[in-house]
């Protein structure tokens, strides 16, 4: 593996709800109320190599979007450090180069574009304010970026509401590309699109990757999409990475029981499965995660050790790691 462009070192993100006056008073009088803390991301380590596409997969509420937002600098990490090209960028992002180098593509192509701005301003704003491009060259630059993502530059005077979902997503991509990033965090970037449009946008991502040597953190709940575009896949469950491996390996031979359950339930043409047995139980509340291995209440192989001791992410080959006490038995 080449030198990583981004290293995530023990990053955690907690959201806590402070008690208000009424809550504090109630607690003083003996009510069983305490501050609620959600461990959205819990001590995650990840390396992402230059030019690779890392798929981050998990159920709703497992913290994958939060991890993406921490990487993109929208949320500060509660603990741990982010290293971009070896430099720490966790603290307030005064490092403008690193801030601009990591950009994010959002899920909702409607909410992610400012409804009161014209497309040319949406795309051209950041390069102009940061002085990346001379003011006189902004119109030509915007045209150029729009062509790059497959948008007609003659439409740049329009507002976002005048475009379709796929076109809006292209505007969002153009906005990110306008600051010349090296790294894109795609947070469910195609989940809100029609299937035919999804394919176009995925192809756009892949073309841009070749053309601009981009690295992607591709967050998705859709295994088929991830299998198609990712080089490596990390599976996340309740704030932790449970398994990480090259895409072919993880799809051919999953080690973690959760990965197995996920893959078994993905509808596939070649298997023509009729019966689906969903992973039993609900994802536990991140307010009150189970002790030990987070997956133990739903795991068919769970024993007392799983309920008591948190499994570490264990390297089982140079490019493969799994966090389970029983991966050898699987």
């Amino acid at each position: 593996m080449t030198k990583p462009i981004l290293e995530i070192r023990g990053v955690s993100k907690r959201f806590s709800k402070k008690l208000d006056i009424a809550g504090r008073l109630a607690r003083r009088f003996g009510a069983a109320i305490s501050e609620e803390t959600v461990h959205a991301v819990d001590n995650v380590d990840l390396d992402i190599a230059k030019g690779e596409v890392l798929g981050l997969v998990g159920e709703s509420g497992c913290g994958k979007s939060t991890l993406g937002r921490v990487v993109a600098g929208i949320h500060p990490a509660s603990d741990g450090a982010l290293l971009y090209e070896g430099r720490v960028i966790t603290k307030k992002r005064s490092d403008k180069a690193a801030t601009l180098a990591i950009q994010m593509i959002f899920q909702d192509p409607f909410a992610s574009l400012n409804p009161r701005m014209r497309v040319e301003d949406i795309i051209g704003e950041a390069p102009r304010l940061h002085g990346l491009v001379a003011a006189a060259e902004i119109p030509a630059y915007v045209d150029d970026v729009m062509r790059k993502v497959g948008l007609d530059p003659t439409l740049k005077k329009r507002y976002a509401h005048q475009f379709s979902g796929g076109q809006r997503q292209r505007i969002g991509i153009a906005r990110a590309l306008a600051v010349k990033p090296d790294f894109l965090v795609c947070d469910e970037a195609i989940a809100a699109l029609d299937v035919s449009i999804q394919a176009q946008v995925i192809n756009l991502f892949m073309d841009l990757r070749k053309e601009l040597e981009l690295t992607y953190l591709f967050i998705s709940h859709d295994l088929s999409v991830v299998e198609h575009i990712a080089d490596r896949v990390a599976i996340m469950y309740l704030g932790r990475i449970v398994e990480i491996a090259a895409t072919e390996e993880i799809f051919a031979d999953p080690k973690h029981p959760y990965t197995k359950a996920l893959l078994a339930e993905a509808p596939r043409l070649d298997q023509r499965k009729r019966d689906f047995t969903p992973v039993k139980g609900e994802i536990p509340s991140p307010l009150d995660p189970p002790p030990g291995c987070h997956f133990n209440p739903r795991c068919p192989m769970a024993n007392d050790k799983c309920r008591a001791e948190r499994p570490q992410l264990e390297e089982i080959s140079p490019v493969r790691a799994v966090s389970c006490h029983h991966w050898r038995d699987a």
Binding site: K96, S112, L113, N114, P115, H130, Q162, R175
Partner: protein, 302 residues
């Protein structure tokens, strides 16, 4: 139908403002109210050139003309179509000059209160935490008093005068704007386009003023219109009670108060005509404001 036209942008680029204008003029009542209000503004602005008398110039006011019924001829030769008041002011002239004062007091206090309330509301929404709690409790406290009571107390302390009454109206009204802006800004700052702006490395001020504020303007315009009408009637109330503007600068409220003592003696015109002028002004602004709210609120869109 509106959806159909929005779906074919290829024909014509429609800015949000053009769409807004088309929707606004769909309502006949609101269009009529806007026309009425604009004519009132034009008449008030043109007052020095279209009135026979300057009611502020004591040399032109003749006590002998006092309390003449509508249609009488003044000593100076012109006809007083709306009659005259107790001190001999031609009511038509006095009403137009009074409108100038009422409108400028209402609009000035509205704009200042909007600017102050907007800044405070934005600060509350963006800073959050203790600052927000303090500001919003202050707003609650302020709004728990009737605005007229707050203004009355302030004017009683400050004394008479246009500047003082504007100050009193600003203090009585900033809280409405602050609350509106904070509510909208809280919703807007959670949206993904704000996250995108942060991600693009924009500073906090740039995010607030370039992205959040423009998306908070619609409800502010609505509140601004309605509150301006409110400010005009509040000023009239204060002047009617005798604590607002002085006799030498008669606003509509002062004129109504002047005529009040003659009402029971059958000289209805001294109070009724300024009262009608006030009613028309406030109502036309309110009708425009109500329709603005309908047009600008996406939840009421067809």
């Amino acid at each position: 139908m509106t959806d159909m036209t929005a779906a074919k942008p290829a024909v014509r680029v429609e800015t949000p403002f053009q769409r807004f204008r088309a929707e606004f003029f769909e309502s006949r009542i609101a269009t009529a109210a806007l026309i009425v209000f604009s004519s009132i503004v034009v008449l008030a602005l043109l007052a020095p050139w279209i009135t026979p008398q300057n009611p502020y110039d004591l040399g032109q006011v003749d006590v002998l003309d006092g309390r003449l019924p509508p249609g009488s001829e003044a000593f100076a030769g012109y006809t007083m179509w709306l009659g005259s008041d107790g001190s001999g002011r031609d009511l038509y002239s006095a009403i137009l000059y009074g409108l100038r004062i009422s409108l400028s007091v209402g609009v000035a206090s509205g704009i200042i209160a909007l600017a102050i309330g907007m800044m405070i509301g934005l600060i509350a929404a963006y800073m959050g935490g203790r600052i927000e709690a303090v500001i919003m409790r202050l707003v609650d406290l302020q709004l728990s008093f009737p605005a007229s009571l707050v203004a009355l107390m302030l004017v009683a302390i400050l004394g008479k005068g246009v500047d003082k009454i504007i100050l009193a109206l600003v203090v009585a009204q900033w809280a409405y704007y602050a609350r509106t802006v904070r509510g909208t800004a809280l919703v807007e700052r959670r949206k993904e386009y704000v996250e995108a702006a942060q991600c693009l490395g924009l500073s906090q001020t740039q995010v607030v003023f370039r992205h959040i504020l423009p998306n908070c303007l619609a409800p502010l315009i609505v509140v601004g219109t309605v509150q301006t009408a409110h400010a005009i009637s509040l000023e009239a109330t204060l002047s009617f009670l005798g604590v607002g503007l002085p006799q030498t600068q008669p606003s509509l409220g002062v004129l109504i108060a002047n005529g009040f003592e003659y009402l029971l003696s059958g000289r209805y015109w001294i109070s009724v005509f300024p009262g009608l002028a006030l009613l028309t002004t406030v109502m036309s602004i309110n009708l425009v404001g109500d329709h603005l709210r309908d047009v600008l609120n996406p939840r009421l869109k067809k």
